[in-house]
């Protein structure tokens, strides 16, 4: 089974990198086959091909219609999960997005 690629999107990819580390820890603990990385909004177009699910930081949730055009599942991270860098909850959200995608 191929690794699922999860992109966390914020303005420059700086603030989401905190959450990426937390999510990686959660993924390791759960042995989930995922590849998680942070990107800035200016990298969206070039990373769209190599991403399986987008999680938007709450402050760039206005990008949702733009990102949805890439045809991949898109979610917005809840503000409190984002602020406290709750990796497990964010990862769960990403995994749920895959599931919903698979069911369609």
């Amino acid at each position: 089974m191929a690794y699922k690629r999860i992109a966390l999107v914020c303005s420059f990819g700086l603030s989401t990198s905190l959450l990426v580390q937390a999510m990686e820890r959660a993924a390791t603990a759960a042995q989930a086959k995922v590849d998680i990385f942070a990107i800035g909004t200016s990298e969206l177009a070039e990373r769209a091909e190599t991403t399986d699910v987008f999680l938007l930081a709450p402050q760039v949730r206005y990008m949702r219609p733009t990102v949805e055009k890439y045809g991949k599942p898109v979610g917005v991270v809840d503000g409190m999960i984002y602020a406290t860098a709750d990796g497990a909850k964010a990862l769960r959200q990403a995994l749920s997005l895959f599931q919903e995608e698979g069911m369609q």
Partner: protein, 469 residues
């Protein structure tokens, strides 16, 4: 107040989506952030050696000797800057075409290069001088050519990037493209596809440039005074730059940024997609003045906001971090712990969404007020000449004091930041206390019951599991 914030979110979110969804706005912003920014920062580092943070008045001792040496060799020391930050229009011209083509799923790198070639044609005055001589590369000084690729060329660079890509799109739509059979390797085929669009782009630019030089330059034509398209366009749009560099404009920009952040939308991201070209024009004008030995006067630039207003992140929240760290509320205390390191590097999303400030009617008040007061004060003291204006753009993660010192090359910049921090602390404190009191009262009433132990059962997500089947 709560309803007001929710109403604001309902109004601002769709408006933001509309601005950001505009493909040209996206391409322009990405050109600055994605393509030009590294060159801006690298150029700024070289600039430290050209315009060192030593007061020009120092003429004795070691520092004085350094000052004199730097002034003597300035034209040479300027070169690394001139070919990085100094060519900002070239990077933006490439970036706009590159990112816009990516949006259209077209050949981004070749269209980016075509855009640069087209832009370069606009940087040489073309024509026949009064005495029958010719204006060409030989007739002009290289610095005249390079100057067009600095801030003066930003508008034409943006227009060129958009124009080249749109022309390519039109030619594609009507089939004016050399198509090779699909058996030909992709790279070869692409090189042929770009030929007609590139020929027409450069050709049209050549004719336009000839016309612009002939119709706008003082007559008879002379290499020293002949105008180029970048200068003609800047003369027409210069009023925008002037209007952007005023107190009302600075206050309007910070209020807009903070209103957006108040409902949890990245305000700097949105405002910069419109304001970045203006900020860079102002900043480069400052550097040009200093290079020419004149005082820099333009205030409203990128570092004016990132270094002197967003102290610890948008909203000047650095003092709030320390209030959180010593808070009696466990929630606030833990947010404070998470926020300290990011805050030192001007990243404050943990605070904005953790306190939370966004959509919080109490905390939004200091969040809007402090940066607005700070921007007003900073503008005024810079206008009065008490603190030098920013001449250099440090990375946005540059810690406070260091950033203030570097951005205008003076300890006064750091001192101004200290005053700004004090103002922010005074404004935030009462609201922090009210919010803390409310959280403590809530915490007494409710026993924490989350029931979430933070583990993930992969059986719920079979598509990502490790189970061999």
């Amino acid at each position: 107040m709560n309803n007001l914030l929710q109403w604001m979110e309902r109004m601002l979110l769709p408006a933001t989506v509309r601005i950001v969804e505009n493909r040209y706005m996206q391409a322009i912003r990405n050109a600055f952030i994605g393509s030009a920014l590294p060159m801006i920062i690298v150029g700024s580092i070289f600039l430290i050696f050209v315009i060192p943070p030593i007061p020009a008045s120092v003429s004795d001792g070691v520092l004085g000797a350094i000052n004199q040496w730097l002034i003597r060799y300035r034209p040479i020391l300027f070169i690394p800057f001139q070919f990085t930050f100094g060519l900002i229009a070239m990077w933006v011209g490439y970036g706009v075409a590159y990112h816009l083509s990516q949006y259209y799923k077209m050949d981004a790198s070749r269209l980016g290069l075509t855009s640069v070639a087209t832009l370069l044609v606009f940087c040489v005055p073309i024509g026949i001088t009064g005495d029958g001589g010719l204006l060409g590369l030989e007739a002009i000084h290289v610095s005249q050519f390079v100057e067009n690729l600095g801030a003066v060329g930003l508008f034409i660079a943006i227009l060129t990037g958009i124009g080249v890509v749109e022309l390519n799109r039109l030619l594609y739509r009507y089939g004016f493209i050399i198509k090779l059979p699909s058996s030909v390797p992709g790279n070869v085929a692409k090189s042929f596809e770009i030929m007609i669009p590139a020929f027409l782009s450069v050709g049209i630019a050549f004719l336009l440039e000839w016309w612009a030089t002939a119709s706008s330059s003082p007559q008879p034509l002379d290499p020293a005074t002949a105008l180029t398209m970048p200068k003609v366009i800047m003369a027409k749009l210069g009023f925008l730059v002037q209007a952007s560099d005023t107190l009302p404009s600075a206050v309007l920009q910070i209020i807009l940024m903070m209103l957006l952040w108040s409902v949890g939308i990245h305000g700097m991201n949105v405002v910069s997609s419109v304001a970045y070209p203006l900020w860079q024009t102002n900043l480069q004008a400052n550097i040009a003045s200093i290079g020419a030995g004149q005082p820099a006067t333009h205030i409203v630039s990128e570092p004016f906001f990132h270094m002197y207003a967003h102290l610890g992140g948008s909203g000047a929240t650095l003092p709030l971090v320390f209030m959180l760290l010593w808070s009696k509320s466990q929630q606030l205390k833990s947010v404070g712990r998470v926020s300290l390191m990011p805050g030192v590097f001007n990243i404050n999303e943990p605070i904005t969404f953790g306190v939370p400030i966004a959509l919080n009617p109490i905390m939004v008040i200091p969040f809007l007020t402090s940066p607005s007061v700070i921007v007003t004060l900073n503008y005024l003291v810079m206008k009065m000449g008490l603190v030098p204006v920013p001449t250099l753009q440090p990375p946005l993660t540059m810690p406070v004091f260091l950033g203030g010192f570097l951005a205008d090359g003076s300890w006064r910049g750091a001192a101004l930041q200290a005053v700004d921090l004090l103002i922010a602390a005074l404004i935030y404190y009462p609201f922090f206390k009210i919010w803390e009191k409310r959280l403590l009262a809530d915490a007494e009433g409710v026993v924490a019951q989350d029931g979430d132990n933070g583990t993930i059962d992969l059986h719920h997500y079979p598509s990502c599991g490790t189970s061999e089947k």
